[in-house]
Each structure stands twice: as structure tokens, then as C-alpha cells.
């Protein structure tokens, strides 16, 4: 309850800041970061809570985005209905991949999700009569039409993104404290011991993966309307999948604010590197990759744990409990 309240207050602060901020560029950077954080948070439902690393989450961004846009542009299906169908498609795919690989231990799941993501990308690129292939699909509109998810002011997407982020964060907090959350925690520590306590391990993992896919897909639908362009190599690319996994882990999977910290960290590196060295030089990728290496080697649990350790090292620190910390 207390955490939910904190999340809502923070949400309100960010919402008003976004509305008052005059700089459109900053608002859209913040919107991107918020979407990334939504995906990191969604990834955490399986990855953070159970320790199974998905490297194909971008397929859950791309599939609902394409389904929604194509149904809308080709068959005049409302984006709201299209979004539901797209999310359902993402969940169905997650169920199939999960059922095939989550009963195996080891890196099969990571490799299978990586492969499945690449299949989705190559199919989108190949069936270009349907998807326009590598050239992507532009979404253009001149007027506000909320029922079609079309807004001319970037702040609308900003509000959508941070609302989604708050909702996903509250949802993740609820999952952690639910029956499912207990089962996932048991599985993360030891699948053998979880099964011995009666937890149906494979079923729980597949369920968590489907939930994770659904939440990611929800973000994907709104994101593509915010960007106004379906670029297959971005939406379905390995780079996005990896980015989603990294921001979740870099932030720290044990913390509710982990993916948010991770997304802010990533977007700042991106912005700073691009400002200093230009967007094409590879500096942003290099700094991000090497900082992931540095973070894993320093404390594999991520930035939030490092911050907590630093905080505890301060001698006369005031007594503050970090409310966003899970158990």
C-alpha cells in the first residue's frame, strides 16, 4: 500500500513536470526512457524474478506494433481492438516458446528467445508485400484522435508512457507479493526445491513469460504510435532485446525502481555520448557495453545494490528506509 502511494506521488510529480516543461526534445527523450523502463520492468517479471534471461523481448514489441498498424491501415480495425489482438499474438508466441524451452535448464531459453526474435525480424523483412519490409511503415496523422491513439502533442505520449510505467511497476509489486510471486521466487533460488515443495515449475515459468510478453506488448503498441514509424530493424532487432535485458539488470533486478534507474542510465549515456562524440561514432554502444561489464564485475546485482552498499558505508547516515526495495 505504502509503495503504491509512493509510486502514485512520483507519477504525479513527473506528470506535472512533463506538462510544464516547454522543451519538446527533452519530453520526447523522457518518453523514450519511460517506454524503455516499461519494457525493462516487464522483462523483470520473468528475467528478474526467476532468473531466466530472455534475449528476444523485442519480438513482443514488434508483433503487437505491426498487428495494430496493419489491421488499422489495411482493414480499418480500430487500434484499440488491434492492440488487443496484437497482445494476444505476443502472448501466444510466448506460450509456445516458453513451453518448448522453459522446461530445460541452462542457456536454452536465452538462445531460443534470441533465435525466435531473429525469426520474427526475418519474417517481417521477407513478407514485404504485407509489412513493407525493411523500409518500414510510416504512421501519419494531422489531428488528435484518441480512439486511434493519435496525438499531435508529444506530452500525450509522455503521459501515456509514465502512466504505463507506474501501472507496470505497481503490478510487478503486486506479483512479487502474490502466490505467483512466491512460486517464482522459489524457482529462482532452486527449481529442485520449488518442485519438492509442490510448485509446478514449468507451468509457473511459462505463465510468468506470458505475463512478461503481454506487458511488453502493451508498451509496444503505444510506443510505435509515439514514434510514428514502424522500423523493423529497430522494433524487432536484437539490439532492442539486448537493451531491454541490460537496463533491467544494470539497474538491479531486486529493486522495483531497478529498470527505471537502468533506463535513465542508458538514456543518459546515449545522450551524453551523442552530444560529445556524435551519434555515428560507436561511443554510446562502447560506453554502455563496457559499463555493463564494469557493473557486473563490481556487483552483478546492479546499480541499486551498489547505491545501497555505498549508502550503508556512510558513517552517520540518517535513518531512511528505501521503500522501493523488495525483500
Amino acid at each position: 500500500m505504502k509503495r503504491t502511494l509512493v509510486i502514485l506521488v512520483v507519477w504525479a510529480l513527473f506528470a506535472s513536470a512533463g506538462i510544464l516543461l516547454r522543451n519538446n526534445y527533452l519530453v520526447s527523450v523522457a518518453t523514450s526512457a519511460a517506454f524503455l523502463a516499461v519494457w525493462g520492468q516487464s522483462w523483470n517479471v520473468l528475467g528478474g524474478l526467476s532468473g531466466n534471461i530472455s534475449l528476444g523481448h523485442s519480438m513482443f514489441v514488434a508483433i503487437p506494433a505491426y498487428v495494430t498498424i496493419l489491421l488499422f491501415q489495411r482493414a480499418d480495425v480500430s487500434p484499440l481492438l488491434g492492440a488487443l489482438l496484437g497482445i494476444a499474438a505476443a502472448v501466444a508466441l510466448a506460450a509456445v516458446i516458453g513451453a518448448a524451452t522453459l522446461r530445460l535448464t541452462g542457456p536454452y531459453f536465452s538462445l531460443a528467445t534470441l533465435a525466435a526474435g531473429a525469426v520474427v525480424l526475418s519474417l517481417i523483412l521477407h513478407y514485404d508485400e504485407l509489412t513493407s519490409g525493411p523500409s518500414g511503415i510510416p504512421i501519419s496523422f494531422a489531428h488528435d484522435a484518441p480512439e486511434k491513439l493519435e496525438f499531435t502533442n508529444v506530452r500525450a505520449y509522455y503521459l501515456i508512457a509514465i502512466t504505463l510505467l507506474a501501472a507496470v511497476t505497481i503490478f510487478l509489486d503486486m506479483i512479487k507479493r502474490s502466490r505467483l510471486g512466491y512460486y517464482i521466487a522459489a524457482i529462482k533460488s532452486s527449481e529442485a526445491a520449488a518442485a519438492a515443495a509442490g510448485v509446478r515449475v514449468a507451468w509457473v515459468k511459462v505463465l510468468a513469460f506470458c505475463l512478461s510478453a503481454a506487458l511488453t506488448a502493451l508498451g509496444g503498441v503505444f510506443y510505435v504510435f509515439f514514434i510514428g514509424f514502424a522500423d523493423p530493424n529497430f522494433l524487432a532487432g536484437l539490439a532492442l532485446s539486448v537493451k531491454i535485458a541490460l537496463i533491467a539488470v544494470v539497474g538491479g533486478t531486486g529493486f522495483l525502481i531497478g529498470p527505471i534507474i537502468g533506463a535513465v542510465f542508458y538514456e543518459s549515456i546515449d545522450a551524453v555520448a551523442n552530444a560529445y562524440f556524435g551519434a555515428a561514432g560507436g561511443w554510446d554502444v562502447m560506453i554502455l557495453g563496457l559499463s555493463v561489464v564494469a557493473i557486473v564485475m563490481t556487483d552483478p546485482r546492479g546499480l541499486c545494490f551498489m547505491a545501497e552498499r555505498l549508502w550503508q558505508a556512510i558513517p552517520f547516515r540518517p535513518k531512511v528506509s528505501i521503500s522501493a526495495r523488495g525483500v
Binding site: Y182, A186, A192, A193, A195, V199
Partner: protein, 250 residues
């Protein structure tokens, strides 16, 4: 009355290593049965076969009159066949009481019911004071007891204790043995795998001895312990140690 657990000709091999050769024995309802044998005798493999971690190469396993070959570990646990591990398996991201609750949740209890029952169980073993702690900082003995309580939350009919007592303090040992005896009175059956002969002598009224993947003998504990075949099993075959049990240690 049919036996609670009945094994017929169970065999299990890993590559060239025949871990269980031909295991046939039965456990009657009610009571505490001891299972001993030198390292590598196949005790841990047997527990893994019973709980569905390994599928046997041949043979049958009946629990409560039912062939359980097709059931998963979790489903076996849910119908009352549970086990503990030699090494503790704490649930690191949950508090101690939440970790115990998992068993109750799997039985279908609500969170509130599971919490209050878990609390009673913790009090039973004198662990109520650590209920809200993270298991990360607790000693091994406490962790093993938490594992034990977690499976007790399933209201099992048969509990396989794989060296539960090893590594417990003297006090913990006393308390746990008392609790096991008490639970046995209420109708739970225990199969106790131990190296600690004191525990075996105190608890079990029936003792099964395994060696080289087979049952050597079984019967009343004091008689069995002095059986020359048992003495031979311990003195003769100790060189073979480690081959059969290896998989479960990993």
C-alpha cells in the same frame, strides 16, 4: 492393508554406472523407517527416483496404492510424497516465513491461512523469532529446518529426510527428533536417511540397509546393525564411494 510405498525391481543407471540395481521394498503406513548404507550405496538416487527427479530404467513405484510413474515431482509432493535435501535450499528472495508458506500455498491455502500455519510450524521448531528475516544470513541448521517445514506445510503422508540432521546443533537435533516423533504419532510416515547412528537408533523402529544399489537387509534396528552383511557393506565397499550419489550432490 496395502503398503504406503512399494517399490518393485527399481533399477537406475547413469551411463556405465549402475546406481540402483534392483530395489524392492515396502514401507507400511505410520512410523519411522531408517535407511542407511555406505556412500555410493544409492540412497540419494533412490530418493531422486521416488520423487520423480530421475525416471527409473525399470521397476515400479506405488504410492498409496497408485502407480506414480507419470507424476512430476510437484504432483508427487501435492499427493503427499515429499523430501528434503542434504544441502539447504533457502528461497533467497523471500523471508523465512514466506519460504515456508510456499508449501501451504501449493496445498491451496490462502496467503493468510498459509502465513498463520507457517507461524505455528516455526514456533514448533523454535524459529518464530527469525520469521521475518531473510534466510541469507541464517546458519545452515536453520535453513535445513526451514526446508523441512516448507514440505510439512503440504500435509504429507510420507516424508523422505535426506540427511536432515547432519549439520544441526545439539539443541536443534533434540527439538527436531522430538517433532518427528510427535508427527509420526499423528500419522505421518518418515523415511530417515542418516549417517548419524544415534539418530537412527533413537527414531526408527525399522531399518533398511542399502549397498551397491540393492537392499542388503531390513528389520529391527539392533538386530540389523549387527548383521555381518551390514558390517561387510560398511567395511568392504567404502572404496567405491561417490559414484552413485554423485549426481545428487552436484
Amino acid at each position: 492393508m496395502t503398503a504406503l510405498l512399494a517399490l518393485g525391481g527399481v533399477a537406475k543407471s547413469f551411463g556405465a554406472v549402475q546406481s540402483l540395481v534392483d530395489v524392492t521394498f515396502a514401507i507400511e503406513d505410520h512410523g519411522i523407517v531408517g535407511l542407511i548404507g555406505p556412500n555410493g550405496a544409492g540412497k540419494s538416487t533412490l530418493i531422486n527416483v521416488l520423487t520423480g527427479v530421475y525416471a527409473p530404467n525399470s521397476g515400479t513405484v506405488y504410492f498409496a496404492g497408485r502407480d506414480i510413474a507419470a507424476l512430476s515431482t510437484a504432483d508427487r509432493a501435492r499427493i503427499g510424497l515429499v523430501r528434503t535435501f542434504q544441502r539447504p535450499h533457502p528461497i533467497l528472495d523471500l523471508t523465512c516465513i514466506e519460504g515456508v508458506m510456499v508449501g501451504g500455498l501449493c496445498r491451496g491455502l490462502s496467503q493468510a491461512e498459509a502465513r498463520s500455519e507457517a507461524h505455528e510450524k516455526l514456533e514448533l521448531l523454535g524459529l518464530a523469532n527469525v520469521a521475518d528475516y531473510s534466510p541469507r544470513k541464517l546458519p545452515t541448521g536453520h535453513l535445513k529446518l526451514l526446508d523441512f517445514l516448507r514440505v510439512l506445510m503440504l500435509r504429507p503422508r510420507l516424508v523422505l529426510l535426506d540427511e536432515l540432521m547432519a549439520g544441526l546443533s545439539h539443541n536443534e537435533l533434540e527439538v527436531v527428533q522430538g517433532v518427528i516423533e510427535q508427527l509420526a504419532q499423528t500419522g505421518i510416515t518418515f523415511l530417515v536417511v542418516e549417517h548419524l547412528m544415534g539418530v537412527i537408533r533413537r527414531l526408527s523402529r525399522h531399518l533398511v540397509v542399502m549397498d551397491a544399489g540393492q537392499i542388503v537387509t531390513e528389520g529391527e534396528p539392533t538386530t540389523v546393525i549387527h548383521d555381518p552383511r551390514v558390517v561387510a557393506a560398511y567395511l568392504g565397499d567404502d572404496v567405491e564411494s561417490g559414484s552413485g550419489d554423485g549426481a545428487s550432490h552436484a
